[in-house]
């Protein structure tokens, strides 16, 4: 979360002479990251007060006028289309060179002298939104009339005339430090880093006691540990003075009326949300903090109707709901121009309840943002005091009751013990106890001690994790504004370290013993697989782990085979994929028009539901070769597979026509499908996708897939290599070509021939031919045969005898016709 903070405002609470740049740098270093700095005098450069001396019609345009405007260094003509432009006004003039936002939209644009419909314009009379105050209420096509806001001379810079000489910091606040979501919070941190003085907060003094007027009843003390309110009468509701409006505008709030503005002002200044009810509209002079009844309704300040469920905390009067606790007030009881009595609420609500209610209603506000991070019950009083002060001063109101408070239990500060030696060990630097204590005290912690280890602690309030003292203790009391984020003694280490400055810590390389964790086999070989496939010309894709029901159905898988998300982002992302195939086919479909052929792969886990346990997440590999010719694609895919297996050290792999085609018949082309085995383990399939897939996924090209889906694959990978002794005697080569039946499988032939001759070392298929000259239904194969003996050089004659045996087998057993 971020907060916009005016440096001038911070300086009301902090005595500092640092430049804005220095302050930003220092406060960033301790954790209040200044993400952006806006120097207003720069923003308003060349924007000045103008005085409209005369308004003339534009000769060439009905909707435009010419304003003779005194801009200090003289009177100039400015063309203007503002509907409320009139003589005698003080206006905001952007001179040539000024940067403005045209109609409040888009980027800043630099103004130049220009002709508008034939008349030269020496600047621009600006609307509110054109110089960045879009939150001020303003009319359509109206210029900003600042006659009431300033009496500065024409030509005075706007920054000066409207007292905008300020720097705005946009500061990121971490979710645990809601105390920094305020001017006072930033001033506190500022006081720590600048080591300069902090001014105190308001307290409630001199108020009437024992005059309750309203009854406050908290029915849910766990959800509302404290509720305070005060009644103020004689209030005159109207616009806030400019200084207050300006502060709100620069902080990102929209000015509404003085009472509401004051509650927002205090919220921003003290970090405690307040709410103002029109007391006359509250039935029965009663405030009840309770859970809503199911179906109860209220129109909120945003003008929308909300219906509540019975777990939501609301503020009610005797008859109706008047506010969603900690989130937003109701329209019916809001302050209006006619309001004269207001009841100001300053309360603490349970963070979780506020968060869940806001999310359920989809209703968010500045108050809710603070409450859901957890506020201290102790911060209600100073904020109420500050509001009373401002209301009295700015609206003429007078307090008409005591501070009426319902609080479940009295406040107890959190106290922890603290061992400086343990802190030093965790920080890794030497720092004296004195220095640590000093830093903690600067942060508002109250430090007692040191106490000796043997000595029993006076009042050990909370246990300590991780940093139990052995030597010396300090006992540390947490200031109320930190009572949510300081949870254990170890938290003090961070406080000390951040104020000391992480930039002052050295960088040290850790030494230590050797650890024994082995690299995960799948991680290691997944990487090797990717590199090999890339080298083989394949392109890697990454798909979401999610798939849609449509993809799942197209894949022919039942819904209960996949992990289903209870709260998916959309129907596209409802399931966790149980296979990589559907996303791969979708990828092919999405690229087929631009790339009519491609070789792709993906390695990723898939998710398989398991009864009573976490889903399994085995790593799968899918390879797709798509294009025109299924036979060619099959061989390309198989070639890649062979290369991959070799590179992964897997030698005992084989393909078999599917062991149970019924399993995969819906997925693959029956005649172009084989099962992949490693040893006796079935690890996946290779095959051309079925007509059903082609149809379901809308594929134009032919696609051959390799789907490796069994864990044996990665577990069989090895980087261990073996080698054979180089041969001592030369080989003898012979070639054979023969025609035989198309369906005679090459591997069967190779296997048979290998058994036919003991001297045959290697067979290599070097040509397959079908077509002209070869009968339909037949194919021509050409093979190299290599013969070798380990004991002697072979003679031509004995090789001829071996070839003769082989020819015989081919003719007899495979009915081959030899061509040579």
């Amino acid at each position: 979360m971020n907060i916009l903070t005016s440096y001038n405002w911070i300086k009301e609470y902090l005595d500092t002479d640092l430049s804005p740049e220095e302050f930003a740098k220092k406060t960033t270093a301790v954790g209040n990251s200044v993400e952006r700095m806006d120097q207003l005098s720069e923003r308003f450069e060349k924007i000045v007060v103008g005085f409209v001396k005369e308004v003339k019609p534009h000769p060439n345009a009905d909707k435009l006028k010419i304003a003779l405007t005194d801009v200090g260094h003289g009177t100039v003509e400015i063309v203007c289309g503002g509907v409320n432009l009139s003589q005698g006004q003080r206006v905001v003039v952007g001179l040539p060179g000024a940067k403005v936002k045209w109609h409040g939209e888009g980027d800043l644009v630099e103004l130049a002298k220009t002709k508008i419909r034939g008349v030269e314009s020496h600047g621009m009379i600006c609307a509110v939104e054109e110089i960045g105050f879009e939150k001020l209420p303003h009319g359509y096509h109206e210029i900003w009339d600042i006659t009431e806001l300033t009496s500065a001379k024409p030509g005075t810079s706007i920054a000066k005339a409207l007292e905008l000489d300020d720097t705005i910091f946009d500061i990121e606040v971490t979710s645990n430090r809601v105390d920094c979501m305020s001017i006072v919070g930033q001033a506190r941190e500022g006081a720590v880093v600048t080591e300069q003085g902090l001014k105190g907060l308001k307290g409630l003094k001199g108020l009437k006691e024992d005059d309750d007027r309203f009854t406050i009843e908290v029915k849910e003390p766990r959800l509302c540990p404290k509720y305070s309110a005060i009644l103020i009468e004689n209030v005159k509701v109207g616009p806030s003075p400019w200084w207050l409006q300006k502060r709100l505008l620069l902080a990102g709030h929209r000015p509404i009326n003085n009472v509401v503005d004051i509650t927002n002002y205090v919220l921003h200044e003290y970090g405690q949300p307040l709410h103002a009810f029109d007391a006359d509209k509250l039935d029965g002079e009663k405030i009840i903090v309770r859970k809503a009844k199911k179906g109860e309704k209220m129109k909120a300040l945003d003008g929308k109707d909300y219906e509540f469920s019975d777990d939501m905390l609301v503020i009610a009067d005797a008859k109706k709901v008047v506010a969603v606790a900690g989130v937003m007030g109701g329209e019916a009881t809001a302050t209006t121009e006619n309001t004269t009595r207001v009841l100001i609420e300053s309360a603490t609500f349970d963070p979780v309840s506020v968060r869940r209610t806001a999310r359920a209603l989809n209703l968010y506000s500045d108050s809710q943002l603070l409450f859901e991070k957890g506020l201290s019950t102790e911060s209600t009083e100073p904020a109420l005091a500050r509001a009373v002060e401002l209301i009295t001063e700015l609206t003429g109101g007078k307090t008409a009751s005591s501070v009426m408070t319902e609080q479940a239990k009295s406040y107890e500060s959190r106290v922890f013990d603290f061992d400086p030696q343990k802190a030093r060990a965790l920080m890794g630097i030497e720092m004296e106890d004195k220095k640590m204590v000093e830093i903690l005290e600067r942060l508002g912690f109250v430090v007692k001690g040191p106490f000796d280890s043997g000595q029993l602690l006076p009042e050990l309030v909370e246990g300590v994790t991780g940093l139990r003292s052995v030597n010396k203790y300090f006992q540390i009391t947490v200031p109320y504004w930190r009572d949510h984020d300081i949870e254990a003694s170890v938290d003090f280490v961070e406080e000390i370290a951040r104020v000391y400055g992480y930039a002052n810590f050295p960088s040290v390389f850790p030494a230590g013993e050797i650890q024994l964790i082995q690299e995960d086999q799948a991680i290691k070989f997944q990487r090797r697989t990717k590199e090999v496939l890339k080298g083989a010309g394949f392109t890697e894709i990454y798909s979401y782990s999610f798939i849609s029901e449509k993809q799942l159905t197209a894949y022919g898988m039942k819904k209960d085979y996949a992990v289903f998300l209870r709260n998916p982002l959309s129907s596209e992302f409802e399931f966790m994929r149980p296979s990589l195939v559907p996303s791969m086919l979708t990828t092919v479909e999405q690229n087929q028009h631009r790339f009519p052929e491609a070789d792709l792969f993906e390695i990723a886990p898939v998710y398989i539901p398991k009864k009573g346990n976490l889903p399994d997440e085995p790593l799968h590999l899918v390879i797709a070769c798509y294009g025109k010719d299924g036979r060619e694609l099959f061989l390309r895919a198989k070639g890649a597979l062979a290369r991959l297996m070799r590179e992964l050290g897997i030698n005992d792999w084989s393909l078999e026509r599917s062991r149970d085609p019924a399993d995969y018949i819906a997925h693959y082309h029956d005649g172009r499908l084989a099962a992949i085995y490693i040893g006796k383990n079935y690890v996946g399939e290779i095959g051309q996708v079925s007509d059903m897939f082609v149809k379901n996924f809308g594929l134009d090209p032919v696609c051959v897939l390799i789907d490796i889906h069994e864990p044996e694959f990665f577990s069989k990978c090895t980087s261990i290599k073996s080698f054979k002794q180089l041969p001592q005697f030369p080989e003898v080569k012979r070639d054979l070509a023969f025609v035989l039946d198309e369906r005679s499988e090459y591997e069967t032939i190779e296997e048979k021939l290998g058994k036919t001759s003991t001297l045959l070392e290697r067979i290599e298929l070097f040509d397959v031919y079908r077509g002209k000259g070869v009968e339909e239904g037949k194919k021509s194969l050409a093979i190299h045969l290599s013969f070798r003996s380990d004991e002697r050089t072979l003679e031509s004659k004995e090789v001829d005898q071996e070839v003769e045996k082989i020819r015989h087998v081919l003719e007899e057993e495979f009915h081959a016709i030899l061509r040579s």
């Binding site: 920080m427 013993e513 990717k530 209870r566």
Partner: protein, 348 residues
Amino acid sequence: MKIELEQLKKDFENTLRDVKDHVALEEVKNEFLGRKGKLKTLLKDVATLADEERKAIGKLANEIKDALETAYGQKESELDMRHPGSRLDQEWIDVTEPGKFPSEGHLHPVTQAISEITDIFARVGFTSVRAPEIDWDYYVFESLNMPKDHPARDDWETFFVDLPEGKKGKIVLTPHTSNSQVRVMETTKPPIRIININRTYRRQIDISHIPMFHQFEGLMIDKNISVVHLKGILDYFAKTFFGPNRRTRLRPHHFRFTEPSFEVDITCGVCGGNENGNCRLCKGGWLELGGAGMVHPNVIKAGGHDPEVYSGFAFGWGVERTLMMREGIKIDDIRVLYKNDLRFVKQF
């Protein structure tokens, strides 16, 4: 004989000088160096010389022969190079034609980033481990010191799986890689130095957010580990991955499972860390790299170790983000990473 040999050398050099093509060169070679050439003829009588003289002449003859052959070789390559119609000239190719590739493969940029990150940490002894992407609430939240009502455990931030709750709570898609922390500690006695790179899931999708992205998590647990060691490892990574001139800073931050916690910033590569510049990539010269911190004692305890004995640090951040930061890229729409448009993937 000696004088004759020297003369022969001179004659050869003079003749060679006038040679203009390969044919003439071949003739000269035959004339002097051929089987019936001048050198052979001259040396015919060497055998008849006295021992001593024979040795001296033999030596000189060899030197002269070498010199002639060298001169011939030089002339030959000279002719090859310079003359139109020679072999090298005929074999001229256009070296400016585009090269041909064996078909070109591509790895997804995320794979490339993961490999680099893994290698960098492997060099300092961090081992890659695998942890589930779908895990029990216990490992994802509970054991990481996140209370039951923490916002991250609500439906609108984290994906919940429609499977029955177990002893370790609901089943969720991991929104970060920190579930590896307690999982590794449960099974391993320190010293521990691991990294876990995994897919992570969060419920948001727009031009700068994707519901699935990658994170990497580093964890070190040992005796006497402190903030200065975390700083050491982070500096090492930043300088190795991003370059030696980049600086880092630790900004105090807040995470439930580390204490103290930081955000790690690195100087911007585009503007070089100019704090007052108006950079298109960074805010005030610094880029946010990721989160880090000292492992919370409660987390060490949940991992089954004694936080009085062991301490450690953890760090983790987005892989995609880290990659884009190094290249100085601002991808207009980060969703392109997982759309598998081959026009995108084939660029890497």
